[in-house]
Amino acid sequence: MDPNLFDSLRLELRRGSLTLAVLAQLRSEHYGYTLRKALAGLGLDIDEGTLYPLLRRLETQDLLTSEWREEGGRKKRFYKLSPDGKQIFKQLLAEWNGINQSLDRIV
């Protein structure tokens, strides 16, 4: 068996889930570093090289809004869900729940 197969399938499995997790966590405002910590605290580790660009992409897709503010003596970029993001998040969550329920019955 290809030793990289598990890693590649795991990556595929995680990709969509990470977006959902980030959208869920950004129902309340965070900047990149605290968001990563919050997710890690809940058991979902995302490496920095994935998370920060993902935030940018979600923002260019109008799912997030961002605002620069000074905090702790440094300017930080705070992200939160946009109105479009809230709507898409609801739809994705319903989809996720549907998949989860189906998988529970299948597995």
Binding site: Y33, T34, D47, G49, Y52, K76, R77
Partner: protein, 328 residues
Amino acid sequence: MDLIDRYLAAVRRHLPRNLQDDVIQELTDNLRSEAEEREQEAGRALNADEQSALLKKHGHPWLMASRYLPQQQLIGPALFPYYRQTLILVLFWIVLPITLIGGALSAIYSDNPGQAWAQALGAAWNGAIYATGIVTLVFAVLERERVRFTALDKWDPSWLPTAATGRPVPRGESVAGLAFGLTFLLWWLGLIHVPQITSWGGQPVRFVAAAIWTTMYYPILISLLASIAIYLVDLVRPWRSITVSLIDLAIGVYNVVIVAMVLRAGHFVEVIGDPTHADVLTRAASFINASVEWTFIVLGAVFILDMLYEVWLMTHTSKSARVISSLA
């Protein structure tokens, strides 16, 4: 300047100008926040090794910068099937047939067939690289502009042919026939030219078509158009019905008649040159006419074999269809 500053400077160099300030400012804060937290935990400033370990987790500066680019895939999964199909079509059904036909024609008319084939293969290699590059570029632009093809979403399963309506015709057979037919048609109409033999046995010569080709010009043109039409029908409906098979057989008979009429003429090419070298002209005329005659003999045999094969396929398919019907 510590390692974090150097890392940020390196990432900046790989970012597009319009993103540099914004991304670097955000990344600075993220990296500094992370470093500060570790320093608080350790109760001291991070040393070079610890900073290095922190930065390595973020990845190579070039990789980090590339993740911020708006387009993450050259051709994404939605466009990839179209890209692959277009590439196959262009390489195998345009570049390859043109190479084979062009190479064969050049070899026939060249004093050095090996060199002619080598040149044709070299040109094909360049053509394949250019074609791949152009197709890839077009699809990369489509991906960047988020263009999505929807034409195939509108397909209707009722369009699928039923297995009992005829025999399947491989798409490759139709496309290859179409490519050869169209190329020959363009040559017959004088729209593409092949290199001419201008010397024979060291003497300048000119080859002129004999009168038979004027007589046969339109009959051959009709045959070509009819064959191309059949290949087109096969391509659109890849299950050949009895009607199409019968039309194909009729075209086969017509082609055999054309071959017979050409062969009956017995003289196909006039060789014009210096009359003081009559022996060279005679040898050239004899060789070329014999070559054309044998080509048409082989062509006639191919037409007859093709018709016999078509009849065999028709009867074979009918039997299969009867078996399927009896099982239904």
